[in-house]
Each structure stands twice: as C-alpha cells, then as structure tokens.
Amino acid sequence: MQFGIFSVSDITRDPVSGVTPSEAERIDAVIRIAQKAEEVGLDVFAIGEHHNPPFFSSSPTTLLAAIAATTKRLIVTTATTLITTNDPVRIAEEYAMLQHVSDGRMDLMIGRGNTAPVYPWFGADIRQGLPLALENYNLLHRLWREDVVDWEGQYRTALQGFTSTPRPLDDVPPFVWHGSIRTPEIAEQAAFYGNGFFANHIFWPTSHSLRLINFYRQRFEHYGHGTKKQAIVGLGGQAYIARKSQDAYAEFRPYFDEAPVYGHGPSLEDFSQMTPLTVGSPQEVIEKTLTFHDTFGDYQRQLFLMDHAGLPLKTVLNQLDLLGEEVIPVLRKELESRKDPESADAPTHEGLVKAKYGDQPARQPRPNANRGDNVTGASPYQDSDDVQVTYPSIV
C-alpha cells in the first residue's frame, strides 16, 4: 500500500492573509511540499496538469524530474496527465525520459481534462474527448512496447517506422493509472490493458466511486490479468488535520468556504459528511480512511489533497508532519493486518522488472548507428533480432 499526496497546482489567494503567492513562490513551495512528503515517510507525490492560470503545472515532467533529483525514495507521478490535448508521442518521450532520470521512481495517471477552452488551444475538440483519450492511449501503449511503430488513427498524423526514444528504463514501460469519475469506457480500457484504475474520490459520495471500481475489477479478471482482488486500485481523498477536531474545523473553514471548486456551496460539515473529506484529529482521519477499505477492499494507493485553496506553505508542512507521523503509520499497520494475501502489491518499477525478467538481466536497448530512418533495414536496436518490420506499401 502506497500513501501520498496530490496537488492540483492551483495558485489561490490565501483568504486569511489576503495574499496570493507568485508563481515563483508557489512552484518553490510545491517542490518543498514534495520533499517534505518523502521526509515524513510518504511514498508518492502527484501533480496535476493545467494550461491556464491560476494553475502553474503545464509541464509536469520538468517539475517531477526536479523533485526526483532531490529525493531518494519518493515515487513521482501525475494527477492527471492530459491524454487528450497532449500528443501521445510526446507523452511517450517525456515520461520515458522522466523514468530514466528518476531511476524508475515514477508512474503516471492519465485523464481527459474537463476545461473546455484548453482543447481548441491544442487543436482538439472536447466533444471528441472520450474517443480521443481512448485512441491516444492505445497509441501510447504501443509506443512503449514496440521499438518500431506503424500506426494510423483518427486524431493524429499517421506514423511509419517511428521509434519513441528513449526506450523505457529496463525496457519496462512506466506504470499507468487511468483516472475517471464516471466513464465506464475508461475503466474498461484500464482493465483491458491490466493497468491501474484511480477514482478521484473527492467530490462525491463513496458509493459513486464503488460502482465503477467494481466494474473495473470484473473486467480486469475478464481480460485475464488476475482475479478481481488483484486489480490495481487507487483512491483520492482529502484531509485537514489538527490535534483537536474543533481546531481543525476552525482552521480549515475559511479555506474551504472560499475554495475554488466547492467554496460558497455546501457547508464544511455537510461536505465532510457526504464526501471522503475528513476534517479532524489524526484519529478521525485514520477512522474515516479505514472506511474506504471497508468499502473498496484492498487497494494499492491512497493520495490525499493537502495543499490547495490558498493554504500557506507552513500550514501544509505542518499538515504533512501530522499525516506522516500520526496517521500513516497507524494506517499502514492496520491495512497490512487486513490485507488479503491474494491482493496485488502496489506497483513499482522494481516489481515490474521482476515480473518481466524474473532473475534474468533486464534488456538494455543499444541503438545502431544513425541511418536516417527506421523504415528500411532491420531494427534500430542492436539486440532485438526478431523484430518484424512492416514496410509501407505503395498503392
């Protein structure tokens, strides 16, 4: 079981001090928050992707590479990488590069993105968002698994003899989570490929997430990747922790009331009652998080949203101290004792390498000398003898 935090990358006015951080301040703060996550014993840091103010995270791999370079154990990932408006070829290249420089301490979560104006900025159409996401992932999946790809689809220029470089670290593709709230096709795609499925689990009651997760588990088994219990599930959540419950409410309320997403809407009490948000003492956060396990069974990754809505850096760092020192150790122990031996371990690069190679050495692709294309001749790599190269036909 992996525990971590995910950040939206919002730059929001602190409603208590009235100050809006600069982009520079907030980017620096997020790097420090990620480093702190490792320091307090968390396993994962995830960043969102946005292409409009007041968010800064347009280029997640650059940020995550900087974080990976200054940490030792932390897995860096996304929540989410936009599979619609990014070219899947660029995703394949950038995240493989991140995989190399982080020495495998990364994965990614792909999602569609729901900000309508972003689509046309990148030449896409939100009305085609779902088929675009599905097709783009199908291509991404191949780019990381085949040295040379010929491909033709509806939404992107066709590829002939294309090699995405660098090849994934140890020739093991980065682990992919598919994030969705209510789209069965996304759950189906995650299940088809044996990838992970992540439910954001922030805005809606737990029962909403359960329906789709159960569908994903069934389909994971249907496609022969393992049993339902071996499917790989991640959940979001959010918490505000203080030693005393009433302090947690008092401190968090001004931020909640003006939060960009749910501010000026439901009351903090109602929202805590109706959704996975926990505001309270470490013990209360532990108890509520354990109810997720009651509902969903064993799952592999729990991410908390801790740094949004203008919460100042100092507060976030204090929150992480409480989370790392008082909440996570208890949750680890409790969930470990509940874990069914059949259920899957959380995905790591080491685990995937072992699954692919056992005790054998991993493939380390070495390119042949430059010959200008991948279309003529054999494989562009020295060690792949039996690669079937398809030549383009001249009609």
Partner: protein, 237 residues
C-alpha cells in the same frame, strides 16, 4: 385478452410525487398542489386503486438546491427527493410565478435533476400568481421545460390567480387535470415506454438518479477502449 380501456387495473398502489415551489406558509402554490393531489387520490380510490403521496416542499430544500446547482453534490434531502421522483408513477408540480416566470428555486430544482429521471412520467403542471395576467406561464414556460425532461404533461394546465380561489371553475379544472393524470398513471405508459425503448434515450453512467448502471460493451467506444483507432468520422455538412 381484455381491452385495457374497458378494464382499468384495480387493486394497484401508485406513487404520486408532489413538488411545490411555494415559499410562504400557508402557501397558495402548495394549496393548489395539495388540492390536486387529494383529488387524484380520491379518483384513484373510486377506481379501486391506492395512491401514496410524497410531497417535496422546495423551500426546505433551498440550500441543497443551491449546492446541487453549483457543485453537483446532492444533499440528503435532495437525495430523498430524487428517490421519490424516480419511484413516482405520476407527478404534480406547482410553482409560484415570479417576474413573469416560474420561480428560480423551482426551475433550479428541475435543472439539477438527471435528464432521464422523469422520462415518460405523467405530470400535472400548475402555477399560482397574484393576477390572471400570468396565466400563460404554465403553457408557455413550464410545458416546454417539462417537454425537455420528456415527461407526459397532461392536457389540462392548472393556474390559479387570486380571484380563482373563490371560483368553482378552478375546482372543475383540478378535477379534469386529476382525471387525466389518473388515467395516464393507470395506463402505466411510463413503465411500458421504459421497457420498450429505455436505451434509445440519452443516458450517462449513474444517471436516472443512480439507477442507470447498465454498461453496454457492444459500442464503438468500448471497442476503441480495447485497442485500435477510432472509426472514421461521419462526413460533415
């Protein structure tokens, strides 16, 4: 096989949901809804059937309606209301007229529901106002809103201005609308239409108040989810 119109179903229990947008207490909007509901129940009883009435007073839901519209989060009272509407065999909806239109609270309530929650359910549309000048609000505005929701709105609309409360004409119109509703409920068209063509209406996963959980695996999108590339776009123009 008997002719359904000769032999109305008897011994049945039907659920009637009454939605009132009235905000004062007592409220003439609520009064109109209640009088109509009583008439529906009485007519059904004369025909050997039982009507169970659930009344949804939007005034009590006002904060949750605001939340539902701004954050799509359904509070406990909204959840109960959606459940009652989903279960209902027929509806009576009643709104005050404000500034020449149905009240914002009433409109917001129905705008926050899933598009497919009320498909083919018979509905009596009703409104109240201070003067008869607003009489067409029901037919001009409510009827089109409920057409979007794919309800079967009964032929007779109800409208009561101040002077109507002392008129037996209003009572006659209530009686007429109630008769229409009872006959439509007994025809069980909503159930039959659902059985015959539910999948031909637009749904999304978890819509119809959470009832729509069927997943069709035999679609182009589902095939695309399992590899390959999207089918060619249909020609435009």
């Amino acid at each position: 096989m008997t002719n359904a119109s000769d032999q109305p179903p008897a011994g049945r229990t039907y659920h009637l949901a009454v939605v009132s947008g009235g905000t004062s207490d007592p409220s003439s909007t609520r009064l109109l809804a209640d009088r109509t509901a009583d008439r529906v129940a009485a007519l059904a009883r004369e025909r050997g059937n039982t009507v169970l009435i659930t009344t949804i007073s939007l005034r009590e839901l006002a904060p949750e309606i605001g939340t539902a519209i701004t954050s799509q989060l359904l509070g406990p009272k909204m959840t109960d209301a959606v459940e009652a509407l989903g279960r209902a065999d027929g509806l009576i909806v009643s709104t005050p007229v404000y500034k020449a239109g149905p009240s914002g609270l009433f409109t917001s309530f129905f705008q926050s529901l899933d598009n497919d929650l009320l498909i083919a359910k018979p509905v009596i549309l009703a409104a109240t106002a201070g003067t008869a000048r607003h009489a067409l609000v029901v037919d001009d505005q409510l009827r089109s809103q409920f057409a979007y929701l794919r309800t079967l709105s009964v032929p007779t609309s109800l409208f009561a201005a101040s002077e109507d409360w002392s008129s037996d004409e209003l009572t006659k119109r209530i009686d007429r609308a109630a008769t229409e509703l009872v006959l439509l409920i007994e025809a069980e068209l909503a159930t039959k239409i659902k059985e015959a063509s539910w999948h031909r209406y637009q749904h999304s996963y978890g819509s119809a108040g959470g009832a729509e959980t069927e997943i069709d695996l035999d679609t182009d999108l589902m095939r695309l989810a399992t590899g390959g590339s999207a089918p060619p776009k249909p020609p435009t123009g």
